[in-house]
């Protein structure tokens, strides 16, 4: 169910330059800011510092401190401010440095931004983008490593994006900025540096709500989000060696959710593993698994399984943290077992 608001066709993959995941986000922001003067971005150390992750480096030089705005350490304050600005003629981007800090602003996102359009009988719109990060293994410990996309995905009125490639991140971010609804956009921190990819030089927008098949296969489907897409692709390559053909489907947005593409893939392969870096219980993985089971039950060869962050506060020690995130090997082993080979 792609959105009217953003239903422009994604261009063919005649990509012509390679950029990093963070570059993709920065390019999307820069392009939308050039295109629409009502787009501003605010957050902590986003201007000269270009954020802690340096992802926005250079933007303040082009757009000035009036549009790339350093704020006090007030996530609630500037997110709430952005909600009001979004209602009154602007398209603000609120920058939440670490996704864990979303816990501070859930009222502004979930009780305010998500509900204003509905509560007002459709009269007020809240075209805000909330940028947040996700992903562990940076040795940042329990309060700086969570992937909390399950929470906003649970609340009607919000849209949630979990891109896995530079191509998707750029196209989806542009759609998020143009969307007339509150959109929470999750960026995997590890991908900033680790993931590179080709993007077209000409402009393109990817509609929210369209899944993407990252790899075609016939024996088993990996439904993977964000950081887990790379892991699923790695596992798929390993599986090929042993003669198992794995398909990798990336929903790209958890809401709107492209149920059809997910379900059709599983109807074809009859097996499914959902991979997501959020916690596994009461989660994104639970929803994707259940959605597939409701839709493809009679084609399933066995239960849909989940590979997610271990259900523990994320530990600091590398020796411990590394075992909390799903690996290619785990995905490979589970898939093999499910295919009985």
């Amino acid at each position: 169910m792609p959105d009217a608001a953003t239903a422009t066709v994604a261009p063919p993959r005649d990509a012509t330059k390679e950029i990093g995941f963070g570059d993709a986000v920065r390019e999307a922001i820069a392009e939308e800011m050039r295109r629409d003067p009502t787009v501003v971005l605010m957050g902590e150390d986003v201007a000269e510092a270009g954020t802690t992750f340096k992802v926005l480096k250079g933007l303040v030089e082009e757009f000035g401190p009036g549009r790339i705005i350093d704020t006090p350490i007030s996530e609630v304050g500037f997110t709430g401010l952005c909600v009001g600005a979004a209602m009154t003629g602007m398209r603000p981007i609120a920058d939440i440095m670490f996704g864990d800090f979303l816990m501070l602003v859930m009222d502004q996102i979930g009780n305010q931004a998500a509900k204003i359009h509905y509560m007002s009988g459709g009269k007020w719109n809240v075209p805000i983008v909330i940028r947040a990060t996700m992903g562990a293994t940076r040795r940042s410990a329990a309060q700086h490593s969570q992937s909390l996309h399950a929470w906003p995905s649970h609340i009607p009125g919000l849209k949630v994006v979990v891109p896995s490639t530079p191509y998707d991140a750029k196209g989806l971010f542009k759609a998020a900025v143009r969307d007339n609804n509150p959109v929470v956009f999750f960026e995997d921190k590890i991908s900033y540096t680790k993931v590179k990819g080709l993007v077209p030089t000409e402009e393109y927008v990817i509609p929210l709500g369209v899944a993407d098949v990252k790899r075609e296969g016939s024996d088993i489907t990996f439904i993977a989000t964000s950081s887990m897409v790379q892991v699923a692709l790695g596992a798929a390559a390993m599986l090929e060696e042993v003669g198992i053909s794995a398909e990798v489907v990336d929903p790209r947005t958890t809401w709107p959710l492209d149920e059809e593409t997910l379900i059709n893939s599983v109807k074809k392969t009859s097996r499914c593993i959902v991979m997501d870096e959020g916690y596994g219980r009461y989660s994104v993985a639970a929803e994707l698994a259940q959605t597939v089971q409701e839709g493809a039950f009679y084609d399933l060869d066995g239960p849909v399984r989940r590979l997610c962050a271990m259900h523990v506060p994320i530990p600091f020690s590398p020796a411990l943290e590394d075992v909390t995130v799903p690996t290619e090997k785990q995905a490979f082993d589970l898939a093999r077992q499910m295919c009985n080979r």
Partner: protein, 333 residues
């Protein structure tokens, strides 16, 4: 002549007869509206909860009469007065309160969520202090877009307990945003006296952020109007936010169902406010004392509004409920 009479004539001259009568009319409108809400609620015609604004009319009216039509306001759970003062139409208000399709929010918002772009009403909010960010953001947009609009954030003194207020005051002053924080201090956070919940001095809090702060008699509509006008124009000139603490009182319960109140506030206190400090009585008397109106004129205003309000109630009572199929509309823009 005495200072009292001098101040009076000053007000008369500065404010002007037309506006002075308008202030009276608007307060009466809110009073009559709320009396009907009380009636509708007790007759079980209104769902949910009803938080009446009766007794506090001078604040909404004094402030909103100092605003331009395209200026913004945010309101609270006790918001009927703010919405009406900013120009809401009673029939559409009543319809919303009764959950009817014709209401401002198609029945989806109800009493605590009246919103209306046409009158600059960003919405009432059921989260205490939940709209401090929205109002500050509207002020931010006004400054960024250079459209000269001012945003007023109404809230009760109970909102002083919410951290977001301090984050927004800091941002508003830091960026010199045209937002006016209007604190309606009616002494009670639901059933708790604000002194049991509020340390130190209320006015010192916004002052600590460098915000222009003023504490005024919230029952004197002329003072509210003149003070608000001053700070609103100051904000419009780009000189930054202001904080007005308006001392007031709610005559009825926290909500209509709150009848037995003796355990949290003395009947005598209620009586004193109702009999000695009623904003409508005081302003009506002042208008007569200063020959701006005679009893007949005031009665005429009241009669006209009674008819209007009764018609509005009738419209709302007879209006149809939304079709259940509408429930899935308006989730996304």
């Amino acid at each position: 002549m005495t200072t009292a009479t001098k101040m009076a004539t000053d007000a008369a001259v500065q404010i002007g007869k037309e506006k002075l009568l308008r202030l009276y009319e608007q307060m009466i409108a809110i009073r009559l509206f709320e009396e009907r809400v009380n009636d509708l609620y007790t007759r079980a015609l209104m769902p949910g909860l009803a938080h009446l604004y009766i007794g506090e009319e001078a604040i909404a009216v004094g402030v909103c009469e100092a605003l331009q039509p395209d200026d913004y306001i945010t309101s609270t759970h006790r918001g009927h007065g703010h919405c009406l003062a900013k120009g809401a139409s009673p029939p559409l208000m009543f319809a919303e309160l009764l959950g009817k399709e014709a209401g401002y929010c198609k029945g989806k918002g109800g009493s605590m969520h009246i919103a209306d772009p046409a009158t600059g009403n960003l919405g009432a909010n059921a989260i205490v202090c939940g709209s401090a960010g929205i109002a500050t953001g509207a002020a931010y947009a006004s400054k960024y877009l250079k459209n000269g609009r001012v945003a007023v954030c109404f809230f009760g003194e109970g909102a002083l307990g919410q951290g977001i207020l301090y984050e927004e005051m800091n941002l508003a002053q830091l960026w010199k945003l045209p937002v006016i924080f209007v604190c309606e201090n009616n002494s009670y956070n639901e059933y708790t006296h604000f002194k049991e919940a509020t340390a130190g001095d209320v006015a010192a809090r916004p002052e600590a952020f460098g915000i222009a702060t003023h504490t005024i008699d919230g029952q004197d509509v002329r003072t509210v109007y003149q003070t608000a006008s001053r700070y609103i124009e100051r904000a419009r000139r780009g000189e930054g936010p202001a904080f007005l603490q308006c001392i007031t009182y709610r005559y009825h319960g926290h909500h209509v169902g709150d009848i037995a109140r003796a355990y949290y506030r003395p009947k005598a206190e209620e009586q004193e406010w109702v009999t000695q400090k009623d904003p409508i009585t005081l302003h009506g008397q002042w208008l007569m004392d200063n020959r701006m109106a005679d009893r007949a004129t005031l009665d005429a205003i009241q009669e006209k509004l009674v008819k209007e309000m009764d018609a509005a109630v009738e419209f709302a009572v007879n209006a149809p409920y939304p079709d259940p199929s509408r429930v899935t509309e308006d989730i996304y823009a």
